[in-house]
Structures are given as structure tokens and as C-alpha cells.
Symmetry: D3
Subunit: 320 residues, 6 copies
Amino acid sequence: MSAFIVYLNGKYVPDYEAVISVFDRGYLFGDSAYDTTRTFKHTPFKLESHVSRLFNSLKYISIELGLSQEDVMQITLDVIRRNRRLLNTDEDYWVTQRVSRGRQRPGQSSLDCREHTLIVYIEPLPFISYAHLYAQGARLITPSVRRTPPECISPRAKLGNKLNHILAQIEAKRIDPGCFMPLMLDTRGFISETDAANLFVVSHGRLVTPHRHTVLEGISRDTVIELAGSLEIPCSEGDLTLYDLYMAEEAFITATSYCVLPVTSVNGRLVGAGVPGPITASVLQAWSKLTGVDIAAQATRNAKEADTVSRNSGIRGGSR
Amino acid sequence: MSAFIVYLNGKYVPDYEAVISVFDRGYLFGDSAYDTTRTFKHTPFKLESHVSRLFNSLKYISIELGLSQEDVMQITLDVIRRNRRLLNTDEDYWVTQRVSRGRQRPGQSSLDCREHTLIVYIEPLPFISYAHLYAQGARLITPSVRRTPPECISPRAKLGNKLNHILAQIEAKRIDPGCFMPLMLDTRGFISETDAANLFVVSHGRLVTPHRHTVLEGISRDTVIELAGSLEIPCSEGDLTLYDLYMAEEAFITATSYCVLPVTSVNGRLVGAGVPGPITASVLQAWSKLTGVDIAAQATRNAKEADTVSRNSGIRGGSR
Amino acid sequence: MSAFIVYLNGKYVPDYEAVISVFDRGYLFGDSAYDTTRTFKHTPFKLESHVSRLFNSLKYISIELGLSQEDVMQITLDVIRRNRRLLNTDEDYWVTQRVSRGRQRPGQSSLDCREHTLIVYIEPLPFISYAHLYAQGARLITPSVRRTPPECISPRAKLGNKLNHILAQIEAKRIDPGCFMPLMLDTRGFISETDAANLFVVSHGRLVTPHRHTVLEGISRDTVIELAGSLEIPCSEGDLTLYDLYMAEEAFITATSYCVLPVTSVNGRLVGAGVPGPITASVLQAWSKLTGVDIAAQATRNAKEADTVSRNSGIRGGSR
Amino acid sequence: MSAFIVYLNGKYVPDYEAVISVFDRGYLFGDSAYDTTRTFKHTPFKLESHVSRLFNSLKYISIELGLSQEDVMQITLDVIRRNRRLLNTDEDYWVTQRVSRGRQRPGQSSLDCREHTLIVYIEPLPFISYAHLYAQGARLITPSVRRTPPECISPRAKLGNKLNHILAQIEAKRIDPGCFMPLMLDTRGFISETDAANLFVVSHGRLVTPHRHTVLEGISRDTVIELAGSLEIPCSEGDLTLYDLYMAEEAFITATSYCVLPVTSVNGRLVGAGVPGPITASVLQAWSKLTGVDIAAQATRNAKEADTVSRNSGIRGGSR
Amino acid sequence: MSAFIVYLNGKYVPDYEAVISVFDRGYLFGDSAYDTTRTFKHTPFKLESHVSRLFNSLKYISIELGLSQEDVMQITLDVIRRNRRLLNTDEDYWVTQRVSRGRQRPGQSSLDCREHTLIVYIEPLPFISYAHLYAQGARLITPSVRRTPPECISPRAKLGNKLNHILAQIEAKRIDPGCFMPLMLDTRGFISETDAANLFVVSHGRLVTPHRHTVLEGISRDTVIELAGSLEIPCSEGDLTLYDLYMAEEAFITATSYCVLPVTSVNGRLVGAGVPGPITASVLQAWSKLTGVDIAAQATRNAKEADTVSRNSGIRGGSR
Amino acid sequence: MSAFIVYLNGKYVPDYEAVISVFDRGYLFGDSAYDTTRTFKHTPFKLESHVSRLFNSLKYISIELGLSQEDVMQITLDVIRRNRRLLNTDEDYWVTQRVSRGRQRPGQSSLDCREHTLIVYIEPLPFISYAHLYAQGARLITPSVRRTPPECISPRAKLGNKLNHILAQIEAKRIDPGCFMPLMLDTRGFISETDAANLFVVSHGRLVTPHRHTVLEGISRDTVIELAGSLEIPCSEGDLTLYDLYMAEEAFITATSYCVLPVTSVNGRLVGAGVPGPITASVLQAWSKLTGVDIAAQATRNAKEADTVSRNSGIRGGSR
């Protein structure tokens, strides 16, 4: 089997040669930003929005890449093109751009580091991790680890500092290995997000999702809001407590890879009737229609294939 | 000039060959822990304490290294030995151990990643960055960025997620390029630490330093407490506000590299008389006596040398 | 088998006749306070301290009982005496005093209700619930439910409003049925207490327990502090985070029934070496010596007896 | 005079026989939920909404009653029917359903207790307590006791743990015996609710009521919102500070019994002009029209009758 | 040059005779409220709104002036009339009403002091301080000093206690003498206001301004909202973080004197493109149209005049 | 009757001539600091400490007076000397130094204002306000107004911004005109201070007083700590909740004027036995001994005199 081709600072290299210095601040301090979209039929979904958000994240941490958004989109499409021969027709994949601050020279402070690192790469979607959950629904647990508040680091930027999310994931997995994800509260006690997805709750027939202050402004989240609009389902932001979730009729999470996954259990309690609900289904269906791919069916087909090529190196469901 | 030798997962390589995969979670997510000590006369200071703290940091993020503390100490001494020929007699250096979670295979969660990365390396101390401050004193600014609270990530572990500190540093440097470091408050409004040092305040002849909840439990901080004990200067932990600092007789920061640096200005206000104070001096003197090196004098001598070899790739004053 | 005798507002009745009106505010609103001690060799332990704390709890919620502390102690001893024939020689039991505000007449506010209800009763200790944990150690989980802060209801009074604790217990049991108790954080993110016990952590050879603000000032907690004093183990109050617990050498909980139980797992992480530790053992041993009863051995003997008479109607480990 | 008939676990008994074991967790720990509506012309108002909320409250504390909502409504109507002969034509009453967790058997945790207690009963409305306030307006005081935050116990469920409210009431009554109710702030400093009512403020001609996070989602509150809609008075939820109330044109409280009562004084300050305002009056009038009962006039007539039968055992204005 | 005429407790005196006792509580404790409007073509802008807000501020601190709003408006117009001869045709000015509690007699508490002080005076607008900023944009810095929360003193009243604002200004000016104003965060970490202006952010083409809880409800702020309405620019209140501002397309501040000033730098970062933006310009233009004065041009003309008469004794931009 | 002589910016004037411009920032914004001591036998108590604290307060708000502490002490003694002829032998008085920032010239920011105002004056002690409370004890109420947190303005400086205290006083007096003072909580819910005194609680025979973060570091408070030391009463700082106060054996407040006053009621609850306690008495007695004046007896004698000369213009008990 051939290797994937990775863009690395102007070069295209096989993935096993995609290496960086251990003195790159991306490695030393997680001093980086990134973004990830997925393809539908090998075409990236909302690529422009993702690259635009990447540039916001970079601006937030004061990295000036020296390339335009247009450049990064071109490179991204190039990476996809160069790897296309490796992918099955029915398969789709993640595509990620990642920028780290690069190497720090003696006497430099953060603002002086200018030799930034850009990598762009693709990864097959980890269908096997979640395909069964379209029917079963996912199980979430609320860990003690709270989401970092905006006055420390804004949760709205997509950054290479994920230990807050990772600690939450570890706690949830240690307590219940079968739980899909940790559902994090913010420091005020309101629901924020999982380690890699945004949450929506169906309450009295309306969709509600946590305020943008303490969550990543997911592009998948935006897509749900748009789809809800076209489906004429009222949808709003709000401060949500666990009580809202415990009393909800339905709930689902949204992220780049699986788009929409029903949540059927939180902290050992059934959500709604404990099975995927009709509004969740209609949002997923609308998304499938929008992209021309039956999202759940594709996942199921691919998950069944024994020899799935999977080079997934991100955390599960790692983009929004 | 020869390259430094770096330990990398069982091998000793020149620093330009010290590279890792961009798919290592250390690079992707800052999913790592590290520790740094410095040498005095080429012997590492409190190496055992630093390695012990490294193991605590690893335990906190659920990385089991597969080596003992004794092993890591041995490797560290080996790295020093192999690089000794490159160092001047009067020079000292940082020595760092860094462990990242390694590469994540498809379908793995954080706890499943077991192929961790260990690197050990040395760097010349950046005397030139701080030597003049023993006499002048450092200038600090309080940025708007608050230190991440312990319910999100414990500040007491030394981890590869430094964006909170970096954002603070960037804000301070943008506002006042001549400021040495940002002095961060915690989310309750009390003083925590700078981006890379612990603070001590002299108030009514007593030393006070912020409570351990929201700071790295610096080994340099411990050393100051020990030296204060031997000097019979009362020393305690407490919740400190900026008012305490504005009214203080003296203040200083402590970190692995410079040990003790006087702070003479905070937010544009003079601290005490605006010059390094006598208690600060006596602590630094005791530290010099303990190590057999006149710490400030060594820094000054080295800073003067034109052709200082400096491969510093950490943030300034990056260890405690 | 005979029934236990219960004191109820001046009368002694068999337990199946110990009933109150559904219009008693104790039933309607949990408007009550209580205290529970246990016996050693059929003699109540620190009865005076418990009754004194009961009177503090009553004062806090503005109930004036109309009886003196001496009266309540006399009634308590009387209840024990009247039930003694039902108890085995090696068995010990809980003894509880409970005062509810009584029935509210039309037009009355809380302060006008004066016909308070006093009940005093005994219950066999639930040895079977915890006897095996002296050797194994208990498993705790941190639920999302936080301990009610003192500006709402003081955690230091022992009151008939336990839903905060019960919600925490339910969450922990739903997520992990084998966990012994929920370990609650306070609203600042510091460790407070379990639903029915105080926590002690052994850190660098010293005992530390959460500050009194957000916990019940347990009499068992006081006893541990006294025993630590006599054992010359340094012991102090402090703000504790989960990091402290994860890094601790040992941890244990203390409550009236089992006195001291080792904690060997928190949130799926081993505490210390994951087995009961030596300082925990020495505190338990000192307590056994103080009371003349080998506490763990007694629990084990009783737990083994098949036909244990158990009329336990409190939550497990329901007193401190 | 005859006794009221109470439904108690499947039986109909006179109120003096409505007793439960002191070992019922409802009595021990306030481990229960309840709901109360009132009748207009002997017909319960929004019974379905109240029973639906009762089932939400039970779900929140993990009690499965074993009866359907329909069953509970039937029992409720039955209780009303059986007591009708005792009531005057012009009188109305509260009707309450209350479910406690029941008796805990040895070794059981909360989730194991399954023998729940259901009681349903009626009480004459305490007209005498509030009839004069339609004209005078009520006086409120802000106590130091803050409303329990949602991360501890959700204020949106109607539960048998009322000590937080009771402590607030006691403080207000001790300081000013003539005050009608305490007006509680939440832990962020915003207005939440009184011990037994929701607050509405009239500001620039608009109705505003506190956000649902820290209050009971009163059905009376919902009714006000509906009536405001039909009266074309703008009405919204918001975070309210005492400043809003001090500057308001009018304010009123709403609860099941009195429906709408003007608030004319808070913390010794007049609200608006210090007399009941026109918007308050119009909402009350609309409510009277909706129910076919002149609510204030009925209260006044009944309050005047000397020999009112009153078996009120709740706190004043105890339902919403 | 003649002196300005000041109204002081019923008399009209030259400004150098406008003195009060050092025992007036306005001097002792800042125990006062005030309001300031500006004129356009010598006619006060929204005088009624300002006087109405003054009476709200007085009500908040329990001062009853003994004059009607109409009286105060009359006096204000009188003061303007009496000073008109001193003003150039193209010049405009601030006009301020200030009420202090007056002198406290022995044994009096705050509520007993009834001899209040009223002063009304005008001041030339400090065009020179800000005229250049219409083109350049203002530079703001976030100080460590947080805005006093509403549970301590409501930021919505305009009061004579400005040390919170002054401390913020001092910190900003010490750190960067060229910064125009401090931008304060509230105690939750959200943006509140500057020391003397409200902030608006342009985000995705929409105007957003901080919620009213932690800011002065500026009349200039209201004017912007009205103008935005007429310009069909969507405008809303919200919780804003610094991230919102860093990512904004434009930002501006609004206050009585300069009406609208672009903000082009915050904490050393450029806002948007770092130059005044088109929405800012359109709001300012609409304001000019509303008042018949080209606001920026007037400021520029006046700032150029060498011999500007300036008796400004307030802080810069001291009203909204 | 003669007037008191007041020092005002270098001159000695009769009090009715002690006037300042209404444009002094002390009047406009409360932009000032002050300190007050009292005399015993016409000699000022701890004058040096008070003047030293004044200079700290000035430093905090960045006012450089241009006089030395020695100068200010000399002026103070001079003011006392010049007024001595007006005082009875048995009478004592307050003596206050007050510094305001002075008049702001056009274009100046806070730091540019350099013409500061200094006034020094004496006032007879308001014995009549508190003499009866030595025997009766004072009644306190907890208002909703919370003490400004240190991240907004440090409570440790004695500043001319008292509206936070005044709003608390007004609320308490409106609710209960007979209450002596409001007892304020800080924003975390812990006890801070009254509007003009520090609180001490006697708990288990030990004195405890709130931590210094949220209170004025009273010199009277320091004196109590010193006297407790000499009386061998254990005394410490701590976080105190109302529960501590409700359960206390005794409580008292301390301020410059009355030194020590017992507190016998808080929020309508008796403190301890509801009468002044023995430890309170012993501290007051020690203070009398220290100063050679029977403090309570002097107050009682003076309060009885009908024609007390009282020119008190501060708030009651206005210094510590």
C-alpha cells in the first residue's frame, strides 16, 4: 500500500517523511492552530469557511502565515488531488491544515518567531468508530474537568493545545470505557461542548445549543443552524444546564466527520426515549441531501469493510 | 562548530536530526510533559526533584513512560556528558526531558496510545537575555489573559500546553516591548505567576508567594523557601493581590535559569524604591553560596562574550 | 423477632408504629436537623459532641427544641437501654436524634411553628456494605453535581435536606454501580466531601483535609485530627484540588460507622499505590485502641454472619 | 366539622390518619417532589401542566412512580370530588400531589428504593394571608441567603428540599416581621425568585422576568407570559439586578394561590409610585377573565369570613 | 477673559467662587450623582434624557433633590444662556448637573442628610484631546482593574465615585502614555466599558455592544442604537470577549463629547484593518446629520485654534 | 462658640471658611484618600501608623503629596494644638488628614494633576451615637450590597469613594432604622466588614477576623490583635461565613472612635447569649489600660452632657 502524500513547508512528501524538529514550538508548547474539514465524494465541504476560521485562529495567537487564504485553499486541493488514487470511490476523508510557530532562535520572544511551519494532510474518516452510533446513539459522561474559560484561552479558536479536552476524555474513558465522549461544562456550570463536538438539545420541539462564548464556533454547528432554518425548526443559542439535557426530547452532537450523531445517554440517564429522535434524523437527512451522500449509510458500508485503510492520527471526531 | 547531541527514543543524534513525526500527539495537541533544570559547574541542580516532578506531570496526563526515574536521570547525565566538550568552563546550560504521548493509531483514544516519545537535550543558558536585570531589575505587566484555573488544567503540572502563557506574553510584549514578562492573575483576581517564573514579594520584612493552587510548584520556588529558612527570613504562601505588590518593599521572580531576578516595576509603577532590594540580594547570595557559583557574575561574564553559542529554543527563562 | 423501640415525642413505640403526619414540615420540606453517633461495645461514642452539634444545626434553622442537651442525651441513653436485649454482644449500632419543625398551622410562617417533632432511634451498623473495603479500599467518582455553597445553605449543619448529596450519589451509581460514593467538589472547584463522609489525603507524609467552609464539620473528622496529633502525623486544613488527590500517597474517608476506610481509586485512577496505605492503617489502629474495639475485625465478623438483623434506613455511611 | 380526605398510597383516609413511617426518605432527607395547583370554581387550573411538571421533577431525582400522568390526574380529580362537600361555593383550594422515595431497606442505595409514597390532598387557600395585598402591595426584603445554583440542585424542579427557601424566609421575617416574602438573588448576584413566587418587573412598559436557570419554571409564570401576549404587552426573560427593580415602574409576584400580587416595596424602597400599577392590574384582570373568577374579590370575601376552615400546612403561597 | 457662570444652590456665581465646604459629603465620600450632555449649535442634546437619568442615579443613592426634572432643565438652560456670550459661534460645550448629599450633621446617617448641593456648569469641549482620532482611531489597553460588579455598585448609575475608572486609566496611561483610554473587563471576564465611553464592535456586518448589566446605559449608546436602526444596520446587546474584539471588522467608542470615535488598536493589536471603518463612518455621519453639525470637522477646526479657551475640569470624554 | 481651626493647603482657617473649588477632583469623583485617628487625653493614638497608611492609600491611587510623613504628622499635631482651647478636659476627638487630587486642567489625565489638596481637621467624637451600645450591644444587618472586590478597588486603601459602603448603610437603615451598621459580605459570600468597622468573632474561645483581602486593614483591628496577644487569647485571620457568626460565643466590631463595641444581634438573631461577652470586655479593658482612659465610661459621661459640641461631619464610626 502506498503512503499518503503530505504537504510540508512547500514540499510534498510521503507521510513517513513528514517530520519536524523537536525544537519547533508546535512540538514544545502546542503553539499552533489548525482546521479540518471532510470531503463528500472527494470534494471538501465548506473549505473556504474552514480556511477562514484557520486564519482567525492564527490571528488570535499572532501568527502571520505569509500565505493568503487562497494559497492555503489551493494547497489543500492539491493535497487532495495527489492522494486521490489511494482512496476508494465510496470513501471520504478528513483534510487538515496545521500551522505551528516554528523554531525559536536564541533571545527571541514569541512575536519574533517568524519561520512558521505549514502542513496539510488527509486522513481516512474513522467510520468504524462511530458508524454504529447512528442507530444506537452515543453515550456521554460529564467529567470533573471544566472547559477552559475565555479569559484564559478563547474556546472559539481551534488551537494545538488540547490537554483540557484530553484530560476530560481520559477521565470519561477511565470511568466508563464505553462512553463515546466527555461532555464538558464551563466554569460557570453551563454545558459547553464535548472534547471534539458541539451539542444540540431538542426541547419543546426547538433546537438549542450552548452560547458561543465557551465553545468552538463549529462550522458543523453553523451547518445545523442553517439546516434547521430550511427545515423550519426553531433554533437558538442559550445557556444550557444538565437539567435541560435530562429533560430534553432529543439531543445530538455535530462534528465534521459524522456530521450528526444522536446522543441517547448522559451520565447514565436516558435522553428522551433513549433512542435517536425524529428531529435528529431530519437534520441528518437534510445534510445528506445537501451533500448528495447518505451519510449514515456510507459510514456503515465503510465500517463493514475489513481492511479499512486508516491512518487516523487525530482524536476521534477531531474536527467541527 | 559541532552540533549538540540529543537523546531521542533510545538514540543519540545531532540536534539537526532530532525530528519527530508531525503525527506525534506532542506536535498535534501539545500532548506532552517536560521538565528542565540547569547546571552549576556542569552538574545539574536538583536533578532528582526535577525528574520526580516530571513523573508527576506524566501521571497527571496519564502517560506511563516505561522507564524508571532512575533511568531518566541516567540518560540525562549521559546527555550532559556527551555534550560537555562543546561547553566553556564558565558556561552552564539547561537540560530538559520531554515526553510526548506519541503517535495515535486509528481508532485509539488517548489512553490507548502507548508508544511515547522521550527526548533529552541541553541548551546554553540565555545569559544575554537577563544578565543586565540583576542590577536593573525586571519590568512586568499584568495582561488581561488570566491563568487557567485548576479545575480546567492544573497549573502545578509542567505540560506542553503553553498557549495560555504565550498569549499572556504576546499581550505584554505588544503593549510594552521592553517588559520582561507578563505577570498573570488567576481567575479569582489573585496573582499567580509569570509565563515562566514564580513571584515572591517582600512585605513588612517577610517573604510571601502565591498559594500553590494556581502556580507551578517551582523547584526554584522551593529553593527560595529553603534559603529563606536558612537566612531566618519568615516566608509563607498566601493569596496576593496587586495591592500587595504595589505596597511591597521588594519583589523578585525565580526560575531555573537566573535563579533570582529583582522586579523593580509592575504596570509602570515602581516596586519599593524601584531598585533591587537587600532581601532579594541576600537570597541570591545564599543561592550562589549553595552552588559555588556567583550567579549574577557568571551571567554578566557570559553575556559579554560576543560569540555566545546559543541554541536556546525554549521561551525565555523557560523552567523553574 | 422483636421490633426496635423508637422514642417519638415523649413516647416509646415499636418501630412499625413510629409514624408522623404527612403534614409535618419534616416530610413536606425536609425541614429538620439530625445527628447520629455509633456505639462501641454498646456505648455511644462522643455522644455529647453529637448532641451539641445537633443543637447547633437546630439553631441554624431556628428551631428551639424545648429540651436541654442533657435531656436529649438522657433520652438517647434510654433508647439504647430499651433496645439492648435485641443486640448481639459483638454488634454495634447507629443511634440517631432527629428534630423536624412539625406541623404548620394556617397562616403560620416558619418561625411560628413551635410543635416540633423529636425522634430517637437505633439501627444496626451496615457492616456488610463496607467490611470488605478495609482491605480493598473504596472507589470514588467525582460527579458533575457540586456541593451547595455556604451562602445558600451552610454545609456545616447536619440537615434533613439531602437531595444535593442524593443527586451526586445517583449520578455516581448510574455511571459506575460499583463505586462506593461520589466525591463532590465545591462551586469553586475544590474538593469538599462525599455524600456522607469527610476526605483526608496523605501528601508528603502529612494529612490534609478540605477547609471547613464547604464540608460538614465531622466529629469523625475531628477524631482523625486528634488521633493524628497523638500519632505525631502533621495534619492541616487546606484547599484541595483533584491534582492533590491524584498525586497523594494515600487517601481515606471517615464517617461515624466505619470510622476510617481507605480510598484506592478516584475517577478510575489509582490513589497512591492503589492499596490501603500505612498512615491510613495507623489512624484506624489508633481509633481501635481508643475504643477498645478492633474496628475492621468487628465489621468483618459481623458482615459474615448470614442472618444479620439490619433495619438500616439511612444512606450508607450516613453520619460523621 | 368533618376531616378532609387524603389519598395515601392507594387508600383514601381522613387527614388525621394520613401518616407515614419516620423511616420514609421523604421525612429523613426531604427526598421527594411535589406539585400544587389551585381550583377556580372547584376545577383545577392547568392540572395537566402541573402533573407534567411533577413527572419532570421526579425524573430529575430518578423516581419512577409506576403510575402514568393520567393516573395521577384521575386520583387528583377523585380527591377533589371526595372533598367537595366540605367546601363553600365561593371558596377554592390548593390540590397537591407529593411523591417521596419511600423506605430504604438495608444495603440499598437511592436507586434501589422502589416503594415510593404518593399522597394527594387539598387545602383551603389561605386568603386571609394575602387578600389585603391586592390593594396594598407586598413588601419584599433581599436576604443574605442566595438561591442554590443549578450545578448543585436545579431550581427548576419542585422538590421536597426547601431549607434554602426557608432560611431566606426566616431571615426576612426576623429582620422585618411585616415583610411578605424574601426576594432571593442567585449566586451571580442577579434576582432569582422569592421563596414561593416568581417576580415580574415592568420597565419602560415592558414585562421582564428572571431567566429560567435559577428559578422554578412557574406555571403561573407561564400564565403571565401568555396573558401578556394576549394583552400585547412585550414580555421577555433577562438577567435582572436590584437596580432594575429599584428603577421599575411596577413589579409583581405570581404564584398558584393569589395568581398576581403587586410588589410595592423592596428593601424599604418604594417600587414605582409605591402603589399597585396599571399593568399589574391588567394582567390580574385578564387572569380573572380567563378563569371566570374575580380573583382579588374572591380573596377579599373569603378573608372576611370569620370562621374560615383552614388546614393550610404549606408555606404561604406555596405553589406556582 | 471673563469667567464662566456657575449655578450653585440657587445662586449664579463666577466659576472661581464656585466653592463648597470640605465637609460636604460630595467631597468627603464622592457621595453624589451627576450627568453631562453636550450642545450642538449651543443647544443641549437630549437634555431631557440626561436629566431623567440624573434623577434615576439620585434615586439609586437615595437623594431626593427637592426640585423637579423640569426645574433642573430650566436651570440648565439658564446656565447656558448666561454663558453664551463667552462662546464662539462654532464652539460647543459640555453642560453638567451635579448633586451631592451635602453636609452631614452630628448623629446623622446618610438618609438624614437633606441639605443637598446642586451645581450646574458648562465647560468647553476638549476638542484638542480627540480631534485627530477621527482619522487615526484610538488606541485602547485592557488594564488589570476590573469594572465594579452590579452587586456592589450598579454601573448603570452615573455617580461621583470614579476611582475604579481612575485606577484603570492610571494603569493604562502608565503602561502606554499614548493610549487613549482603558478598556475594562467586568468581573466575569467580559468587556464592559472604558473609563468614560461605551464600546461597539462590528462583527459580520452587525453592531454588538456589551449587555447593560455592567456598563453605564449611555445616552450616546442609545443614540447609536437608534441611528443603527435608521441605517438598517442590525444591532444587539451581548456578552463580548476580547476574542470578539480581536476578530472584529471595526470597533468604536461613543460618548457625549466626540459622539463616535473609531478604535483601531487594542492591546497592541490592530482592530480590523487598523483604520476607521465604513460602518463607524456611517454612524458618525448619521449623527452629524441628526444634529446639523459636522461633528469631526467641528472638532478639527476647533482643535486647530491656538487660543482655545479650555476650562475642562472633568476627565477626558467624561460623559455619555 | 468659637469655630474649629482647619488646615487647608498651608493655611489655618476657621471651619466655615474651609471650602474648595467644586472642580477639585475630590468633589467631582471622590478622587482622594484620607485617614483618621482619635485622641486619648488629647494625644493622638498611633498617629504614625495612621499617617503611614495614608501614604499607602495615596500611593495606591498615584498621588504624590509633596510632603513627608513627618510633615503631615507635624501639621496634625499643630491642628490639635490650635484647637485645644475648644475642648473639654474629658472629651476626645477625631483628627483627620485628607488629600484630594485637586483641580484638573484642560487636557490633563489623572497622572498630570499635581496641585493636590491637603486638609487636616478635628471633630468631637460622637459619643452619643454609641455610648449606650457598650452595655446593650450593637445590632447588625447583612444587606444585599456586597463589598467591592480587590480586583476593582482594593478595600485595604482608605479612599474617598464610599458609595459602596453608603449604599449598604442605606439599605440596612431603610429595613431596620435601629440597626447600627450593615455587615457586608464580599463577592465570594464571606464576611468582610461593616461600612466603617472591622468584625471579630469569638469561636471556641478564639478570636477570628476576616482575611485582609476584602477589608480595610484597620489599625484598630491591629490593636485588637496586639491586645489579644498580650491577653493570651488565640487570634487568627480566616474566611468567615455567617454560619460562623451565628454560632459564635461573642462578636464585636472595632473602629477608631469607640475602639470596641459588642455585637449582640445579626439579622435578627442573637449572637451568643445576646449580651456583651467576657472576651469582648477583656479586650476593651486592655485597651482602656493601654490608653489610660476608661473608654466606655468616658463615652457614657460625654453622651450624657446635654450641650455636647458636635461638629461631626463623617459617617458614624468613620475611622479604623
